[in-house]
Amino acid sequence: MGANRDALQRYSFAVISHLLLVLAWYLFVELGHVPKFVMPSPSETLQALLVPNYRWPENIAVTSVEIFGGYVLAVVIGIALALVFTWSRWLEMATMPLLVSLNMIPKVALGPLIIVWFKYGIGPNIMMAFAICFFPIVLTTARGLREVEPDLLDLVRTLRGSRWQLFTKIQFPGALPYIFSGMKVAAILAVAGAIVGEFLGSDRGLGYLMLQVQVTLDTAAMFMAVILITLIGSVLYLLVLGLERLLVVRDARLQ
């Protein structure tokens, strides 16, 4: 009961603060007589959705595919690679320092190269999103898999447990909180990756649309695009959060 009321209170405050932000935005624009091309009001922003030329549904779909595609690819390959590391110390010693160095590359800087190599379109943008969110996943997963209590290792050894038993019963479930913390960071990065990809070269998507309407100074449409991109990112983040709640016991979650 107490916990429920606490949660209800927290949610109410969250909703109220968001509504207050919209209200402040509205009052700022109305009372300050801010020109529409500098900052549109909330209602003007919503009205941008009514312009059929902007093909919102298609652009939303394209950007979503890029974000989710790059993200899922990074999760699958990142975790798989980290798993390979735990089985081969040799491979880890050779590859891990390389990954750490490659991680230092600002992935955004690869954009023009990706366009040279793969042209522009959904595929290269998926690749951009992948490149930017792959590293946190592989690095945190590898770290999580390494963090096994030495005493637990001893416990398994006294029972002559196999490497596989150690992995399935202790190592992998123990690494899940780390995997999810990497996945949460990556979820936010994936959005940035896809949008930067669209900025650099594309013919569809919300990032592409923003560049188009920038020319005509339709700031309301740009605002709407930013809001929609944020919403797509939020949906992805919430999905990951929900999956974490399902798979990781509360106490084990990394904050």
Binding site: D154, L155, L159, K169, P173, G174, V249
Partner: protein
């Protein structure tokens, strides 16, 4: 000295750690026998080799020389199935419920699960955790978690329980309570227990035998039988005989 009842026989065990060219003598001339069903307390300061000795008994450490023999004709010993371990930290798996935590060794050994589940419930009742089977570790206090760890060490019915400062992380009052409960568990479960501690009163209170180890250099300093009746009670700690035993250990460790 070795008799039919001898369960653990150690003679002249010596262990040296080598790190970056330097040698560190962790255990030297460890010689003692433990009868089946005894509760032996290994007591000494940090660096006296008591944990190393425990790991040698567990088969986790090699040793340079000496003899380690566990088991007897009446109590054959299978190193894969007859060791239960309890550490300073409970080390329960956070994502498993208490009952499933207790079952871990049974799963690793491939024991029949339905029977093990039944046994896990009995053991949880034995350690005073009836009703906590479906809780997660974080819902239990440190003392309760350590009881679950003791149940886990007993699940596969091992003949030897090795405990490495199991109550060292608990507060003083919980620790005394756990001492009493460990004695009850030991009397009911009829196991041989080797208990490592740096608590001198704890060693004398729990042990049927106390083995004193000193550090720098690591050496076995004493090995005596504690002639206090069972079941033991906390008021024995104020008795003359108890005081004699603890003074004996304090003197050996240069703390008198």
């Amino acid at each position: 000295m070795t008799t039919a009842a001898t369960f653990i026989h150690l003679a002249g065990v010596r262990k040296v750690y080598r790190t970056r060219g330097a040698e560190f003598l962790a255990v030297s001339e460890a010689t003692f026998d433990v009868e089946g069903g005894e509760l032996v307390a290994l007591v000494g300061p940090s660096g006296c080799g008591k944990t190393t000795l425990l790991k040698i008994l567990a088969g986790l450490h090699s040793y340079e020389s000496g003899v380690v023999r566990i088991g007897s004709a009446s109590q054959p010993f299978d190193p894969a199935r007859d060791i239960g371990m309890v550490f300073q930290q409970p080390l329960l798996l956070k994502w498993r419920r208490i009952l499933d935590n207790v079952l871990l060794p049974a799963e690793i050994l491939g024991l029949p699960l339905a029977q093990s589940r039944e046994r896990a419930r009995e053991l949880l009742a034995l350690v005073g955790l009836r009703g906590s089977e479906d809780k997660f570790p974080y819902e239990l206090s440190g003392g309760m978690q350590q009881r679950a760890a003791i149940a886990r060490a007993l699940i596969h019915d091992p003949k030897l329980i090795l405990m490495d400062e199991p109550f060292g992380a608990l507060d003083a009052m919980t620790r005394e309570k756990m001492n009493l409960e460990l004695l009850q568990i030991w009397e009911k479960a009829k196991k041989t227990i080797v208990f490592v501690t740096h608590g001198i009163t704890e060693a004398v209170f729990l042990g049927t035998r106390v083995i004193v180890l000193t550090a720098g250099p690591a050496r076995m300093a004493d090995n005596f039988h504690v002639d206090l009746p069972h079941p033991r009670s906390l008021d024995m700690k104020t008795s003359e005989a108890f005081g004699e035993y603890t003074r004996r250990v304090y003197r050996l460790l240069g703390m008198d």
